[in-house]
Amino acid sequence: MKILTAPRMERCIGCHSCSLACARLVHKNLSWDTAGIRISSSGGLSTGFEARTCLACQPAPCASACPTGAYSQRKGGGVVVKKSLCIRCGECARACPVDAIYLDPASEPYVCIHCGRCVAFCPHDCLELREVGAESGAAGEVREGAS
C-alpha cells in the first residue's frame, strides 16, 4: 500500500502544478481548493512553501469523526472516501489536526486519496508516492534531470 508524501518541500517554487493537477485529474475541476494537496507560503513568500495534504494517519481522526461512513480507514493510512454517503456535515475537516481537508462551500469535502497523480507534475521532485513504512527514496539528494 502506498501513500503520498512531501519529503522535499524545501525545493518547492510555489507553482501549484501539483494541486492544479489533483483538481484537474482526480476531481475534474479547475481550482486551487478542491484538491487533496494544497500549497501555501509558510509565513509569507520569503519563507518558502508548505504542502497541506493528508499525512495518512492510522487511525485517521477524520474517519472516526465521520458520522455516516463516508470516510473509512484506509489500509496503510488515510481514508477511503465514498462520496455517496457524505452528508456534508464538515466533521471530517474539523477533526483533521493538520487542516488537510478542504470543505467546498458548494459541494463536498476534498481529501488526498493517495493516488499519486500529482507527483509527476512537480518540476522539483518535492513529492513521492512510497510504500508504507519505507524510507523516503531520495531525501535531500539532487536528482539528475530535476530542474
Binding site: 475541476n29 479547475l30 522539483h124
Partner: protein, 585 residues
Amino acid sequence: MIRDHFRILSVDLAAGRGVIENLQGRDTVAGGSGLAAMLFEKYGRPGQPWDDPEQPLIFAIGPLTGYFPLMSKTVCAFKSPYHDQYAESHGGGRSALSLRFADFDGLVIRGKAPTPSCLSIGSRHLDLKDVHYLWGMDLLKTGKMLRRMYKGSGHRSILRIGPAGENLSAMACINVDTYRHFGRLGCGAVMGAKNLKGIVIMGDGTFPLPEGKDYPRLFAEVHRKMTDTDMMEKYHNVGTPINMAVLNGIRALPIRNLQKTTDPAMEGISGETFARDTLLRNAACAGCPVGCIHIGFVRERFMEENRYLYRQVSYDHEPIFAAGAMLQVTDAFSVLSLLDAVEREGLDVMSAGVALAWATEALEKGVLSTRETLLPFQFGDAKAYIEAVHHLGAASNDFYRLLAQGTSRAAGHYGGGDFACVLGQEMAGYATGEVFFISQALGFRHSHLDAGGYSYDQKSKEPDVDGAVKFLVQDERARVLLTSMVSCLFARGVYGEEILSDCLRSVGYTNLAEGIGRVAGTIQKLRWRARLATGFDPCAVSIPQRFLEIETWKGKLDEAYLAALKTAYGAAILGIAGGEGESDH
C-alpha cells in the same frame, strides 16, 4: 469559467461598491490586451488627465488563464502618468490565477477612495477597508501587513504600492506577491491617485473542466513541452541574467549611462556570478512549472559584534542592467542591496536606474549640482545610490520630484537631454542597434517586450528598412495574441498560433479558435487606436544623441538607417491604427 462573454467587476472606490457586468466581445478581442483595450474604450476618458478620478485602472486575464501551463500573466491597463496616454503593463505572481478563481475576466477600478484604502475581492466578497495607517509605509512592510490582515494564504494575490506610488511618481510600480511587478509606465501612481494602497484578490472559486479527452490530452502535451525540452532551460537555469555576459561580449550592453557598451568589470555582475554567489532559491508564478524567478540574498552586518540581517531580493537581466551596469555598480551583492532599496520605494527599477545614471553624468558635467541631487553620487557608489533611491521615491525636493516624472522631464528643465537614455521611457538593457532603439522608442509599451528588435539586430547583416519594419509589425501581432490569452512571453516558443487555436478549441472557444489570426489583427489595431486617441504621435518621437554615439560589434551606429526605420515604423503604426484590422495571415 468558460463563457462566451466577459464577466467584469467594476468597482467604484468613492462608493466602496461594485457591479458585475457581462460584456460581449469574446470572439473579437479574446481577453488580456484585447479586453483591456475594449474596457478602456468603454470606461476611459481619453481627453481627461491620467489622474482624473474617473479614469479606470484595468486588470484583465484571458480565455486560457489557468487552463494551461504558463497562462499565468495579467494585463494592467491605464492612462499613464508618464506620458498621459493609454498604456499597458504586465505582471504575474498569483494575480492571474487569483482573478480566474475569483471568477472575473476583468477588474475595473474607478473613482477615488475617501481615505487610503485596500480593496479585497473574491468569488464571494467585495470589501473596501480604510488603511490610513499603511500610508507612507514601504512596499515590503505593506505586503507583510496586508498578509496578516487578510485570510487565504497561498490562494490569493496581494498587489500594493510603496511611497513612490503615493507620491504620484511616473516611475511607480505595482508590486505583485513580493517578487513580481506591473513595473513600467507608472501604474503605481494610478493606484496612489485613487488612494488605493493595496488590492487583495482571493482565488476561492471552483469550476468544472470541459468533458472529453481533448483537453487532458492537450494539457499533457503542452506541459511536456514546457518541462521536458531544453526550450525553457535559459529561463530556469541562470535565468534572464545570462544576457549580461552575452551582450557585454558583443559590445551591446548599456553601461555607465550608455557611455560604453562593454567592460571587463561586468564579470562581477554577470548572470553566472549571481547564480554562483548570490542565488538562494527559485520561485514561480502560479500555474508555471518553469519557475524563472531567481531570488538572491544579501547579508548585512549591522553591528560591530557579529550581528547580521539578510534580505531576499529577486533579480533578472533588466534590474541588473539598470541598477548595476548603467550605474557602474559591479558587485553583485551591492546590486541586490540597491534593488532592495528600489523595491521598498515601489519604483520601476529600470526607470529609476537609468534616471540616476543620467543624474550622475549630469552631476559630473556640472549640469546639476548637489543643491539638486542632495548627494555627491558617482558612478559605482552603491551606498549613495541607495540614499538617492529613497529621495526619488519620497520626491524629497523639486529635483527628485521632477526626475520621478521621467528623465526627459528633468533634462528638459535642467539640460542634458542629449545624454538622457530615453526611448519612449528609460531604456531597457539592450544596446543592440538601430532596430531595437526604434522598437522601444515607438513600440506600444516602450518595452523590450513589444517585439524582438534586439534579436533582429543580432541576426540581420545589412540595413533593411522594409524587412525590419515588417518583422516588428508581425512580431508585435504574434505577441499581442499571447498577451490576450494571457500567456507569459517566455512560452512564445511553445504557444504558436496553431497550438493556441487547439487550446482554445479544447476548452470550448471554437469561434475564437477559428478566427485567431483575424482576432490578433483586431487587437493590435484596437490597442494602437486607444494609444493614438490619447495623444501618441510616432512622428514626434526623437532619439537622444547618446544613442547615435554608441559602437557595437557592428561598428558605429548607422544614423541614416535609424532615421529611415523611425519614419517607416511610425507610418506602419499609423497604418495599423487606421487600417481594417484584418490579419494578413
